[in-house]
Subunit: 194 residues, 2 copies
């Protein structure tokens, strides 16, 4: 979206400020532009999946649509998925519910960082641990009472910041993946200043 | 779970049959064991996340609990997450919502393959394409009317199998990630025999 934003950038010339590694001027310009031209908010993300054998399959991330145009990643992004031997796989990669925690943790982290930058909160470090409880009987359809997905997810964020724990805890709520997963799975989140 | 299952395996000696790359005898034994000892279904998966800068953070998949004991992956599994330049990142990895499609596609694929094997359906090949529509104004909190997560996800599976399209379409419903995501996002799925 930078190219589109260069038009409006002149207004803020010389005010190129970085917070949390983000150009907050560009972030503000993006918000202003999307308020004026809401259609530029439309994005589409895509992957392809090819099954190999048993629990092993391979994902290739494709090009995407954002900021009004088709875009490409600068390098190929491929991911092996597999189950461990305990679940009859060969452990050739992370399993699908580990990729779900990957998506969730990266999305909540990015949401905290971007929204902190927009508010002028400085983040020096941010680490988190996620764990999810799942009963395999759900997937195997052995009991209708057992949910197929995670029964609960717990996350602990350790953050070095000038914001309060409460202020940081407001920010992961903007996360798209948090929004999708928390609709069906209880997610318990702790934010601890370090 | 193989070790636990070896006890019961004698009953089926010589019947070591592989379908879709899976030892269906072990799969059946797993189901029998979990019916007798439901506590063995309890699993826990874990990741750690370390923020680097801006939209870039790194996930490390940790050890997990399954089949009644702590387990380790055979190799380290690390994933870079980042946003593309259009979203103010440096494109150092897939973005969080692309990891969500990774999780979803790998989970639906594995569910089809495992449940097909349990039913004696042979799968020769299985490929899929996923795309998800998302309005970035949700994440940026520019409109309360715009969902933060995907508004819709579409998936097409192309499968070479002796089952019917309808039979295959029953099987992804057992997927834990499908179960979690479809609770809040409409997922349109097509199964096409090739």
């Amino acid at each position: 979206m930078r190219e589109n934003l260069n038009k409006g950038r002149n207004l803020n010339k010389g005010r190129n400020m970085t917070v949390n590694g983000l150009d907050v001027e560009a972030l503000k310009d993006t918000c202003d532009l999307l308020t004026k031209e809401p259609d530029l908010g439309k994005a589409q993300f895509r992957i392809g999946n090819r099954w190999k054998t048993g629990g092993n399959n391979k994902v290739s991330v494709k090009g995407f649509f954002a900021a009004g145009e088709e875009q490409a990643h600068k390098s190929s992004l491929d991911f092996e998925a597999d189950e461990p031997p305990a679940l009859l796989g060969t452990d050739a990669g992370a399993n699908p519910v580990e990729y779900l925690l990957t998506a969730l943790s990266s999305c909540m982290t990015t949401s905290i960082v971007y929204h902190a930058a927009a508010r002028g909160f400085h983040i020096e470090s941010l680490e988190s641990e996620f764990e999810g409880d799942l009963d395999i009987r759900g997937f195997l359809n052995l009991s209708e009472k057992v949910p197929k997905g995670y029964q609960q997810i717990r996350a602990v964020f350790k953050v070095n910041t000038d914001a309060t724990e409460e202020e940081i805890a407001q920010l992961y709520q903007f996360s798209p993946v948090y929004s999708m997963v928390s609709a069906s799975v209880p997610i318990e989140v702790k934010v601890i200043k370090v």
